[in-house]
């Protein structure tokens, strides 16, 4: 029987693979999918760690909304040729090829280092709260802030990429 810890470790491994795929991949579109996959795994981890509110935000904003913004932006940019992609990929592997090894070494080191547990953990209250209550009664200003961030994202895409498609530079 697989314990809770094993499942979480497995999820963390999947997340690491997704992250590496995002960073090292050749295509921007695939990188976006990798990022969405990373967010999806983080969402599952948050649910498993009894943080449904954070999980809902992660799922709706990072996995959903941000992916849509990225895909729309990519659709407005000029795609690279296969030759350019291969060249860029070689260059990237040369510069960042050490990243997977570094990540594995750090992960192993962190697994074996025991951090002294002297943090005062507050009583967990979030599961008792309704998601809607937290979002609309307790964190309204944060919600408004998120809306403004989305507006900036939309404005940014319009301002920075609209003319690029027209001029194709």
């Amino acid at each position: 029987m697989i314990s809770h810890i094993s499942i979480n470790t497995l999820l963390l491994l999947v997340m690491l693979i997704a992250v590496l795929w995002t960073v090292m991949g050749r295509s921007l579109l695939k990188a976006t999918i990798g990022l969405a996959l990373t967010s999806a795994v983080v969402t599952i981890l948050m649910f498993r760690l009894n943080s449904p509110l954070a999980a809902v935000f992660e799922l709706s904003v990072c996995t959903g909304l941000i992916t849509v913004v990225f895909v729309s932006t990519i659709s407005l940019t000029k795609p690279l040729t296969n030759k350019e992609i291969v060249e860029l990929s070689k260059e990237r592997n040369k510069r960042f090829g050490y990243l997977p090894i570094l990540l594995i070494v750090i992960s192993i080191a962190l697994t074996f280092i025991r951090i002294r547990n002297n943090i005062i953990i507050p009583p967990v209250t979030t599961p008792e709260l309704d998601v809607r209550r937290v979002m609309w009664d307790m964190r309204q200003l944060d919600m408004l802030g998120q809306i403004i961030v989305v507006i900036i994202g939309a404005l940014g895409v319009v301002i920075l990429f609209e003319e690029r498609r027209r001029d194709e530079w």
């Binding site: 002297n118 943090i119 507050p122 309204q140 200003l141 802030g145 961030v149 404005l155 301002i159």
Partner: protein, 476 residues
């Protein structure tokens, strides 16, 4: 009432964008001007009747800790003034109506972000407004979409992302310790618990804010971002954005949440001195006017941190007053740079000279800005620097006091070099036909110069009305 400072501009943007036709685009400029003037008037008069107006429905909705104090008034005033200067410069430097409309939208959003930073009393909400301001700034820097602008914006984006990771990690740790994200709850929890995790969290937060504020050694993005941004954006960034996002937030959190630790004071004093000296020395070697002003900003931010690092009332008051003064004189110098750039098409100081005969308003106001930046009496910059130096001396940091005085001399030197290269000397033949800057830019220059002279000459009044009340916050 406080929530209106965020809601009114936001609703305005939404309405204007619903119908982004020509009349709405033209209206956007006047709408922005109106909200910034209203903000200045409200912050300057500080009448309790105005600030305590109850708006039941809205206030019920926004029950998340928004509040005002003496420092908030000063910051709101700075945000309003610099935003107006930036808006006026944009009107005469961004020629396409659609581009101007986009700029105005982003300017209003940036001001919403900064107002939020000044008003919130919750560390996570503070983080959200920091991100709003930073995101709008990335787009603003890249507005002209040329290679340098994109590069400057990208550098800012990457370093800001690193700062964001630090801030979020710190917030998570503080939440673990206190079980809440409100300033008050965290402060109480920190008083009870004192361990290495807390120190680590505070250290991360301070480093994150130092990156956002452009302090040495976290300053790498500042010169590129300031110099590659459009003229109006440089005014905004150099004048107020980095000061609110990095420096004000640092001051606010140390006063209201983290408190002054002796080791933290030492770090702040060292960071401040390093920024002052490095910024001033780097500024001397620059040939680009905007780049020189960017390094000058790093140096001036060092003064603010040095004053704040004293931890005494005089030091903190001097730091807050220097934030105000720096906002005004640095905005003025960037407005002057915009005026020159619009007429000559370059900011390379080697291609300038003798411009004050052709641009008397720009030349004269630039001398006022320069003298205030160098701390020459009786201009406003002199008083804030004096307060900081006296505070350093009184608190026993005589070496830092000496560094501050010497750096002031270097400041005067590089600003005199700028004046000589740009406004004095012989006018070159190719610049003989240039005129004074357009009326909007000249108006912004005159407005800022008048504020510098006024707040310097009437310093006792300014001190009693705006600076002295800060003492209540520090004692509390």
């Amino acid at each position: 009432m406080l929530s209106l400072l965020i809601l009114v501009p936001l609703i305005g943007i939404v309405i204007l964008n619903l119908s982004a036709r020509a009349p709405a685009r033209r209206l956007a400029f006047w709408f922005a001007l109106l909200i910034f003037i209203s903000q200045i008037l409200l912050a300057a008069c500080r009448h309790p009747v105005l600030w305590n107006v109850e708006m039941k429905q809205i206030d019920t909705f926004f029950k998340v800790s928004l509040s005002m104090d003496q420092i908030s008034f000063i910051m709101l005033l700075c945000i309003g003034i610099v935003s107006i200067a930036s808006l006026l410069v944009a009107r005469h430097t961004i020629y396409d109506e659609k581009e101007l409309f986009k700029f105005v939208n982003l300017l209003i959003i940036t001001s919403i972000g900064m107002n939020g930073i000044v008003l919130v009393k919750d560390i996570f909400t503070l983080y959200i407004f920091l991100e709003i301001t930073a995101l709008a700034s990335f787009v603003l820097i890249a507005l002209e979409k040329d290679r340098n602008a994109i590069e400057g914006s990208f550098k800012y984006l990457i370093l800001s992302a690193i700062a964001t990771i630090m801030l979020l990690t710190s917030i998570a740790l503080l939440f673990m310790v206190s079980g809440s994200t409100s300033f008050e709850a965290i402060r109480q929890a920190l008083n009870l618990a004192n361990n290495n995790i807390i120190l680590f969290a505070i250290g991360l937060f301070v480093c994150g804010l130092a990156i956002k504020g452009g302090l040495v050694p976290f300053h790498a993005w500042v010169p590129d971002a300031y110099s590659s941004a459009p003229a109006a954006v440089s005014v905004l960034l150099g004048g107020i954005v980095t000061k609110t996002v990095g420096i004000y937030t640092l001051i606010r959190l140390l006063i209201a949440v983290f408190g002054f630790d002796p080791s933290l004071k030492t770090i702040l004093l060292a960071l401040g001195a390093l920024s002052i000296v490095f910024g001033a020395l780097a500024a001397i070697g620059q040939n680009d006017m905007k780049r020189m002003l960017a390094y000058s900003s790093i140096s001036q931010v060092g003064y603010i941190i040095l004053g704040f690092g004293c931890g005494t009332f005089l030091g903190i008051a001097g730091a807050i007053f220097h934030i105000f003064n720096h906002s005004i004189f640095k905005s003025l110098l960037f407005v002057n740079s915009a005026a020159v750039e619009t007429r000559l098409g370059t900011t390379d100081m080697n291609k300038m000279g003798g411009l004050s005969s052709k641009m008397p308003i720009t030349g004269t106001t630039s001398v006022i800005g320069m003298l205030s930046a160098a701390g020459v009496p009786p201009l406003a910059g002199f008083w804030s620097k004096l307060m900081i130096i006296v505070a350093l001396w009184q608190s026993g940091s005589k070496t830092y006091s000496f560094i501050a005085i010497m750096a002031s001399v270097i400041t005067l030197a590089y600003l005199l070099i700028m004046q000589r290269k740009v406004f004095f000397g012989k006018l070159s033949i190719e610049n003989e036909n240039i005129d004074e800057a357009r009326i909007g830019i000249s108006t912004a220059s005159i407005m800022l110069a008048v504020i510098i002279i006024g707040s310097g000459v009437f310093f006792p009044l300014v001190f009693n009305k705006f600076i002295a009340p800060i003492q209540e916050l520090i004692i509390r």
